[in-house]
Each structure stands twice: as structure tokens, then as C-alpha cells.
Subunit: 109 residues, 2 copies
């Protein structure tokens, strides 16, 4: 695989169930990452879009939270059903506005 | 904290000790991530450089492997002692050539 053109990271941080901050993993971030893996692999897009899990990106209130680089676009409350739309937007240089975390909310929780 | 200007990810993948592919965690990637956290925090740089651990980035032969975005610069065989030099290079828009993973080696192992 070549150096990735786009690289997305989905937070996989997990806190205790009774932690009031919550955590992306308890909001379903593992299923989101798996959905990216399946969609990108099934559509033979691994040469263009790389995906990984990450540690806590301090955007917990928007979990599952993720970021796309080099665009530096942050998405929140992502579900597996959102994955095709996000990948297509990445490939077309667009942003999925309904899922975007406002800049002022990134790394604030 | 504002949206990060630079965001680095250090692979934290761990394979069994007898796995011939090795893994970044067994090469010391946990200490590298901790060194970034300490250096960036001690120097009050968290507004400019964000750091996280990541799942396997398929650059195992160069472990501990890491990437800096939005620059898309990959470093390998990083030690905690390299951390100040890498952070200063990020802030100054330079690349630490002695640690750079060649483009053709990124995501090849």
C-alpha cells in the first residue's frame, strides 16, 4: 500500500461504565472502526484511505469522535451507518456537515 | 485546547513476543508516547501539538513507528531521546531526516 492520501482515526478510548465523562468505546466506536475497515476494504479503497483507532482525543462529549487528516476535519456521534457517506465525502473533498464537530468543540471534553 | 495545529500518532500495537513481525509496543512505543506527553506538557505546547496512540499503521519493520499530520511525515525507530528534536522540528516546519521512514516503506510491513 502507498503512503495514505487520507488517514482517519476513530477514538477507541474506554472508561468505566459509571464514569460521568462517558467514552467513545461505550458509545460504539469499535463498531464504527470495524465499519470503516469493511467499507474501505470491500470497495478496494485502502490505497486511498487509511483507518486506525486512537487513544482519547479529548472530544468525549461527541463520542464516537474521529478525525480525518490531512484535512483536520472532526466528526462526532458517528454511527456505522454514516461510514459510506464519510468515506465518499473524503474521496470527493467534501465535508459531511451534519456530523461535523464545530472547531470550538474539538478537544474540549 | 484549540483544534490541534499538528497531531502526531505513535503506534501502540502489541503482538505476541514470538511473532516474527514484531510490534511497535515491544520495541518501546509506550515509552515514546509517554515522552511526547511529558515534553509537550512540560513545555506548554499542548495548544500546538496533539499526541495520541494508534492501532497498527502497517509500518512494523520501523517500530516504534509514528506519523505527524497534517504534514504526513512518518518516523521510525523512534526513542524517547528523539522526542525533543521531533517536536521542535514540527514547530519549525522541518523534518528530522535521520528518523524519516522513506515513502516507499510506509505501510509496507
Amino acid at each position: 500500500m502507498p503512503k495514505p492520501q487520507h488517514h482517519l482515526f476513530v477514538c477507541q478510548n474506554e472508561r468505566d461504565a459509571d464514569n460521568p465523562r462517558g467514552s467513545c468505546k461505550r458509545c460504539g466506536s469499535e463498531a464504527v472502526l470495524k465499519a470503516f475497515k469493511k467499507y474501505i476494504s470491500d470497495n478496494r479503497l485502502r490505497d486511498r484511505v487509511e483507518f486506525d483507532g486512537s487513544t482519547c482525543m479529548d472530544t468525549c462529549a461527541w463520542g464516537p469522535a474521529m478525525v480525518v487528516y490531512p484535512e483536520n476535519v472532526w466528526y462526532g456521534k458517528v454511527t456505522p451507518e454514516d461510514v459510506p457517506e464519510i468515506v465518499q465525502a473524503i474521496l470527493e473533498g467534501r465535508i459531511v456537515e451534519r456530523l461535523r464537530v464545530p472547531d470550538e468543540a474539538v478537544r474540549k471534553s
